[in-house]
């Protein structure tokens, strides 16, 4: 088959190994640990996660780079292990990790940015809470307007609309019902609901272009339409309309040059 990466490797290993070792020796500075603050450690074992059985102790040979959660937990635990190992060493060298509360210095991210982050987190929390509430409600089979009063209300409205009862008793004298529920019930059963849905844009277009299709069964050229002279513009009809206007303003207002002229122009350019 075709050559894939990793198949054709020409490496003079002995030379390069020597070279690498020499390089490392040359690069090495011999600084004290305090200057470098580096740690090499495998990830820490999380007691909680082990109990849950979610994250098993994987070495990074087995770690799947595509499993985001596992990978990020691995990095997190590695950092944790470093911090746990390094804290006593830092204490030895009198380097603090906790800054006092009134130490005000410039932070890597501005306060404005942190505010944005906070807002986003709060909004996410709110959404979660709402979703949880809804989920719980649905779990126990309750819908909005599912209480006895609202159901009675809705059935009353439906009856009125179907013509079973003539009385509009449900509108007035509602001691139990709140005005919200009245409105809700009416809205849900409203005949005009279908007419509320088209937007203003839709209405305008309907008005302008009509509803399309053949004007079935409607007469045209009736007496009224024949006598309707509102579309008559005298100036245009008698030839005095825009001819003067166009010539007066300029030679070519909207006029497209003729075919021969266009061909000549094309040839020239």
């Amino acid at each position: 088959g075709l050559l894939k990466p990793g198949m054709n490797v020409l490496v003079d290993k002995s030379k390069t190994l020597e070279g690498l070792k020499l390089c490392l020796a040359g690069l090495h500075k011999g600084l004290a640990w305090v200057e470098r603050l580096d740690m090499t450690n495998p990830p820490a074992d999380e007691v909680l996660t082990n109990a849950e059985g979610k994250v098993s102790a994987v070495s990074n040979g087995e770690l799947n780079a595509d499993d985001d959660f596992q990978r990020e937990m691995f990095f997190y635990r590695q950092a944790q292990a470093t911090v746990l190992n390094a804290l006593p060493l830092l204490n030895e060298h009198d380097i603090a990790t906790k800054r006092p509360d009134d130490y005000f210095a410039e932070m890597a991210k501005s306060d404005q940015h942190m505010q944005k982050i906070r807002k986003k987190l709060i909004s996410k929390q709110l959404i979660l809470e709402k979703a949880k509430k809804l989920h719980e409600q649905r779990k126990f089979g309750k819908k909005v307007g599912d209480s006895k009063e609202s159901r009675a209300m809705m059935s009353a409205v439906k009856k009125y609309q179907k013509g079973i009862t003539d009385k509009l008793d449900f509108l007035d004298g509602d001691q139990k019902m709140s005005s919200n529920l009245v409105f809700l019930a009416l809205l849900q059963n409203c005949v005009f609901n279908s007419f509320l849905s088209p937007s203003a844009k839709r209405k305008f277009k309907d008005q302008k272009f009509g509803f399309g299709g053949k004007k079935s069964g409607k007469k045209w050229n009736t007496k009224e339409s024949f006598n309707d002279v509102s579309d008559f513009r005298a100036k245009v009809a008698h030839g005095r309309g825009e001819k003067g206007g166009r010539k007066g303003k300029g030679g070519k207002q909207n006029k497209r040059p003729g075919k021969s002229v266009r061909r000549k122009m094309k040839g020239r350019s």
Binding site: G6, L37, D38, T40, N60, V83, T97, A108
Partner: protein, 343 residues
């Protein structure tokens, strides 16, 4: 950090140190009365006065032309995180890479992080020890900057980081060289004038899937509760060179696949899929249009045939009986039935 003027003798840090000292002292003095005496650091003086800054490590972070916004922000973030970093103007791609060594010398830097963008898509990062030391070239992927809203941590600007490495870095010699380079580049020198005396974040370098993953966490609690600050990126090692931005290749990553090759493979795969589908369709067409095989008539087929007995011809004189209609056509509609019931 704006590109500072190239001064001879490197006077930059000296002036800035004095300024910084004043600023910090002012802050401290105003707070000093309010603070209780029990705290260790009632007045936190400028870092340089705590000790002598000996580890003169300076990193030059700059890029070539043609980088996009993400790369630019990543560079800025790195400069924020590393107080010992310097900026420089974009380098023209016409210049050869060894020019960078001269630039570093002019700026008095001994390490360099150079970002090179190719085709406005691929980002390569060079890390090098400037005068003679080794250098390495990486392909950078999966960049997330400090400004992303999912990175909720924050740290002091210029605080010293803890560096955390994978044990895998000790297994291979090229990884050992890289580890040493990273340590020297990314760790802020002690008593650097622009550094803060606290250690409140950790850089992690992990090797997974033959790539080096970089993360930056903020240390919130002493019990090692961490939050990610960012930036984060993935480095795919290409080559390690003996010299700075040149020289003989010490190590070449055998599993590295150039991004062009990767894209080409994706395209080929997609094309192959389409071709396969087309081939299957063609085959089906051919099968349909092919004349159906007519079996040759076997002469000996009739041997065992026995004709059936003739049935007597029955002439029907009477009409057959009408079928029983099961459907009740006179069944009323449901509504009417219900009305009837109600009445």
């Amino acid at each position: 950090m704006a590109a500072s003027k190239r001064k001879r003798g490197g006077q930059g840090p000296v002036n800035k140190k004095a300024k910084k000292g004043k600023f910090v002292v002012d802050q401290r003095e105003s707070q000093a009365e309010a603070e209780p005496e029990t705290k260790n650091e009632v007045t936190v003086p400028a870092p340089v006065s705590m000790g002598k800054w000996t580890n003169k490590e300076r990193v030059l972070i700059f890029s070539s032309r043609g980088i996009n916004f993400r790369t630019r922000h990543l560079m800025q973030d790195l400069r924020t995180m590393m107080p010992h970093a310097k900026a420089d103007t974009k380098m023209d791609r016409k210049d050869k890479l060894f020019v960078i060594n001269e630039v570093c010398e002019m700026k008095n830097c001994n390490k360099c992080l150079f970002f090179e963008a190719k085709k406005k898509q691929d980002l390569y990062m060079w890390i090098s020890n400037c005068p003679h030391g080794p250098s390495a070239k990486f392909l950078v992927q999966n960049i997330h900057t400090l400004a992303e809203l999912k990175m909720t941590g924050n740290c002091l600007k210029g605080s010293r980081p803890l560096l955390s490495f994978d044990p895998k870095f000790d297994t291979e010699p090229h990884y050992a060289v890289l580890k040493e380079l990273f340590i020297q580049t990314f760790s802020t020198p002690r008593y650097h004038p622009r550094s803060q005396p606290f250690v409140d974040h950790v850089f992690t370098f992990t090797i997974v899937d033959n790539r080096i993953w970089f993360r930056n966490y903020q240390i919130i609690e002493e019990n090692a509760a961490l939050v990610e600050i960012g930036p984060r990126f993935v480095l795919n090692l290409m080559k390690v060179f003996q010299g700075s931005f040149g020289g003989p290749t010490l190590y070449e990553n055998p599993v590295f696949q150039s991004p062009n090759l990767h894209r080409q493979q994706l395209r080929l795969a997609a094309a192959a899929k389409v071709r396969e589908k087309q081939a299957v369709k063609d085959l089906q067409k051919v099968k349909r249009t092919m004349a159906k095989e007519t079996l040759d008539k076997d002469v000996t087929d009739d041997v065992f045939l026995t004709p059936a007995e003739k049935k007597p011809v029955h002439i029907q004189t009477e009409a057959p009986e009408p079928k029983v209609v099961k459907k009740n056509k006179h069944k009323a509609f449901k509504r009417q039935r219900m009305q009837r019931l109600r009445r």
